[in-house]
């Protein structure tokens, strides 16, 4: 089911700037027992994206109300919130008054095998590189051709592909953030020139007494990734998947990964309780 500006719909104005320029932002949120997980964090990132793109954010109460409408009777699912600059303007020039389009859609939870979380996934390096654009780095905007092209490199033989930027730094997966465990340290790529600041990534970066390891942002080379003790990826829908194999090399689902996984489960439970 899709709500567009609050009304059930299957189509959108053909003049929408989201369609013409990728002029919008989105969030993908897990639903558990009618509750959107980490909704506050998702709405904060949407707000940050709106600030960068100068798209007016609708009232949060309205967004929450529409999200909750779609969550009704859903035990496990996914909500996508998308916000575009709406229609109007001339060419790239935006209209004087921006009437943004709210798109909120409910999807079934993807049928990922349980083994992804338990035994880990098989991953690869993508040939498609991320470009550099500091202005757009971090936010979850609709200009996603790089991810589409990277994901088109393989079919079912891998569960995720890791992307380097054009400088050769390893940044993230096509749909996840990457974490490298080395000598009891947990590292993830800085998101400065490219990449998305995933909600789970940001939660893990927050200092916490419950997590033994402080997770650090750094520059990651392909070597760093290859020589990791453990590897895992995160996003809001999958949670955390260990990488069991990367380009043929095996990695254990190790102690650190399991602790981070347990920590995330705890955060999720806490979040659902306080909803």
């Amino acid at each position: 089911m899709i709500l567009i500006n609050g009304k059930q719909a299957t189509t959108i104005e053909a003049t929408d700037r989201g369609l013409h320029y990728g002029d919008g932002l989105f969030e993908t949120i897990e639903i558990i027992n009618e509750q959107p997980v980490f909704l506050t964090q998702h709405l904060l990132r949407l707000e940050a994206g709106c600030f960068v793109l100068k798209i007016p954010l609708p009232k949060k109460a309205l967004l929450i109300d529409e999200v909750m409408q779609l969550c009704k009777n859903i035990t496990h699912g996914v909500i996508k919130i998308m916000l575009t600059r709406g229609s109007g303007g001339r060419g790239y020039r935006q209209p004087e008054v921006i009437d943004s389009t709210r798109y909120i859609a409910l999807h079934p939870y993807p049928n990922y095998p349980e083994s992804c979380q338990e035994q880990g996934i098989v991953a690869r390096f993508c040939a498609t590189r991320l470009g550099l654009n500091p202005l757009l780095a971090g936010i979850k905007h609709n200009n996603r051709l790089e991810q589409v092209l990277a994901r088109a490199e393989w079919q079912d033989d891998y569960q995720e592909g890791l992307m380097l930027n054009i400088k050769g730094e390893v940044i993230e997966g096509t749909m996840t953030n990457l974490f490298v465990v080395k000598n009891q340290e947990v590292l993830t790529s800085h998101i400065t020139d490219c990449g998305v600041k995933g909600i789970i990534r940001q939660l893990l970066l927050e200092p916490s007494r419950s997590l033994k390891y402080q997770i650090k942002e750094t520059i990651l080379s392909k070597e760093d990734v290859f020589h990791a003790d453990e590897l895992f990826v995160t996003n809001s829908v999958i949670g955390l998947w260990p990488i069991a194999q990367l380009e043929g090399k095996a990695y254990p689902v190790g102690k650190v990964t399991k602790q981070v996984m347990a920590y995330l489960e705890m955060l999720k439970k806490q979040n659902l309780k306080t909803c």
Copy 2:
């Protein structure tokens, strides 16, 4: 009027990947006396874009037929062709069979004052920088947030803004390619890391006996642009606009600019004759 997959429509599927990821390409074509100008060149660039993005190109005869339907009785107008990867797939992953969406729209010719062509325009440098992405450079894809943000920097006080990339090279205008005349040489930025290979730009780069000046691709600095003898910008809708003023400095509508303008007019006439 808009034709979507050959049928008159005002809306598009809300699941279209053009909307969600900017997963598409477009062309903007001037119509004169029912004839789309440089249609062959536009379709060739669309084809090149389809090759990069791996979107299947519909039969050209079909596209031409639909364009010609919209051109009927139009003395002066603009056609936008857009092609997206259509609906389907899961997240960034494209569907196994891509059923692309054809969008063809007719717009009135913009009411640009004649002075733009005759006396030249007032231009500025944009603060928004172009990111670097060699993979997507050249083609006219739908990931256009940089242009949207650059164009949002001013209202009516300028007719065009020039964009640097993050390395500090001057690449193009928000909707045009830039040409720098210096000591009887005509230079335009290489399009390697970013920027669009405009149809008019490409026509001017083709060696010709009718044009005295061979136009060269190079790296342009802000200094090169400031110290130019003449400056002009081009695109398929405006043709050529001289820059009369850039950041307060005046530039003449000089001999070289006028010759290039006359050459373009000749190419356009030739093209319309052979349609």
